[in-house]
Symmetry: C2
Subunit: 355 residues, 2 copies
């Protein structure tokens, strides 16, 4: 056996494993220049669960948060098979042709279980993913749904700082994910298959009420008549829901990605909505509906997150007491209200009263 040069040359080993670590300034410069590689690295940093990455990630987010941008965030939901990818590819390319830069993000509740993402997959949006003005990022494959949603909100800020002014956040219409996406976007779009009512039964409660607009996909060929019935059905149902805005009634439009029909009507409506929310002042605030909603969303996430954190913390710190009280309730030894009072009492005993 002879010695190979690599085994005695320390430089080769160092070069092989040495990857220059980006500094705060490198990230900021790269993001602001719209450098996709650095944007991706910054997102990876944010998604990292390593303790030592936290501070830098936080500084980057903080910086992006303060940047003034003119973005518009669109949530897109619909059951698997509704044609989300095909729609997003068409829609994204159209937005780019109108001069926009498009980021596609995903909040995927299934990634938690499968460890892999079914959404935001670049191979399903071939032309869009090749376009220099599009940035596609799949849902992180690790973490809880809440954690994924939280990071997505932060990734939005980074993409906006990188010049992407149309943010599409896709999710599937099951479980909790649309509620989370709904509270991070300016417009919420629901895609529906051209079958009438029955098929919607499995859909999560309240999802129809969250929609600012509904598109019936695959409205072409033999399915067109079905799509038209579905449209009439939906338009009959919409008045039964209370409205999100005084000035806005959710639209229902039949589209075909195949024939490219319905898209121009959709853009018209979407522009009208954006104009409305960005110019009309909210009666409760000296702000536009757009600004007010974003502010409310931020405060909502604050309340939600800290209540979640507290709940987890308190339940853990007092797990035995908590479980004991629950069992007492089930055994009908105590009412829920007394249990709650007891729990607060236990908690207060461990709290510096002088505060």
């Amino acid at each position: 056996m002879t010695l190979k040069s690599s085994m005695i040359n320390p430089y080769l080993d160092i070069r092989r494993f040495y990857k220059p670590k980006l500094q705060f300034e490198d990230y900021i410069e790269g993001i602001q220049k719209g450098n996709r590689t650095i944007l991706s690295q910054a997102i990876t940093l944010i998604e990292s669960e390593r303790e030592e990455d936290k501070e830098l990630a936080s500084r980057i987010i903080q910086f992006c948060l303060k940047k003034q941008t003119s973005s518009f965030r669109i949530g897109i939901t619909g059951v698997p098979g509704v044609g989300k990818s095909t729609f997003i590819e068409s829609f994204g390319l159209d937005l780019i042709s109108k001069g926009h830069k498009v980021a596609v993000l995903a909040v995927d509740p299934s990634s938690e279980k499968s460890g892999g993402s079914i959404l935001g997959d670049r191979t399903r949006m071939e032309n869009l993913s090749k376009n220099a003005n599009a940035y596609i990022r799949p849902s992180p494959s690790k973490g809880t749904l809440g954690g994924v949603a939280r990071r997505t909100r932060e990734v939005i800020l980074l993409c906006e700082a990188a010049g992407y002014d149309r943010i599409l956040v896709e999710t599937v219409g099951v479980g909790q994910s649309e509620t989370l996406v709904h509270s991070m976007v300016d417009f919420f779009l629901l895609l529906i298959l051209p079958n009438s009512g029955d098929e919607l039964q499995g859909m999560k409660r309240g999802i129809m009420e969250m929609a600012d607009g509904i598109l019936i996909t695959k409205s072409d060929g033999d399915t067109l008549p079905k799509a038209k019935i579905a449209k009439a059905d939906l338009e009959r149902v919409i008045p039964y829901f209370s409205m999100n805005y005084d000035f806005w009634k959710p639209f229902v439009i039949c589209i075909s990605s195949l024939n490219k029909t319905g898209f121009s009507e959709f853009y018209q409506k979407l522009n009208l909505f954006e104009n409305n929310v960005k110019t009309n002042l909210h009666p409760l605030a000296k702000k536009t509906y757009f600004e007010y909603k974003r502010e409310q969303q931020s405060l909502y996430w604050f309340e939600q997150t800290f209540m979640e954190n507290f709940k987890d913390y308190i339940k853990k710190a007092f797990q035995k007491d908590y479980e004991k009280l629950k069992q007492k309730i089930i055994n009908k030894e105590i009412t829920p209200f007394e249990a709650s009072e007891n729990f607060l009492k236990i908690f207060k005993e461990h709290f510096y009263e002088e505060h």
Copy 2:
């Protein structure tokens, strides 16, 4: 001026002001015998906000909680003018004629503002209120909606211990009150006027989805055709909502309190529902749907109440920090998530870590 005997006879004064105070045993005996005066006094005790009444009230509730009863709790909601009182009078008298004892309670969100209750008013249910097997109690006129709801849940236990086996809890279909009522009853009934869709717009989101059954009131005379259209409309809409039970699709029945039509169909459906939930086993528990739901409701009230309590307590204890963080979020100095982490950090500093 001469002295009157009453001025020198101490007994008279004592007798005038002396009202024997009921003891725990008196309450329990009275309630179990179905003594309405004592039941009312016990409810007043529970509704009392005086610190010295708390312990006795709590002991009485505890006792009633453990009593096995065969009650069925029905929530009834609908906008003012839908005919709730007329319906409850008919329905209540029918239940009594079938051998039941009926308690009518109310959770009235308006009582908070007006200081008086518009629901559960005895004068609006003249015949029912005179019946020996009916007990009508209006909504307490003091306290927050949450407090009123909480007490109503406790009053239900007292009424059940007093032998009332059909508990009707009425509320108006606005604001938060139906959600609260929904989570304390076994069956949730929605009353609707015989107008079609448009008029439902003002209705609270999600209220249709909570209903286990819908009655269209005033379905008589000239309005009958309208009522039938409304029924068809509603039946078209119902499949768009996800279901509360695998085995149950909410019904829509046209009724007329005037002509007494629709009632027998309603009873049939209600009995079917009760039978179903009381015999079918819930797949997640070795319990009937009925038992499982009541247990879940109790745990839900526990979680809700303690989180409310904690939230109030923490926000108050750290009000300055809380407001400062909110302002920072609005000023975009900090993300909601960082604010939340900071808030938890501040909180932990005031907490005995050794716990």
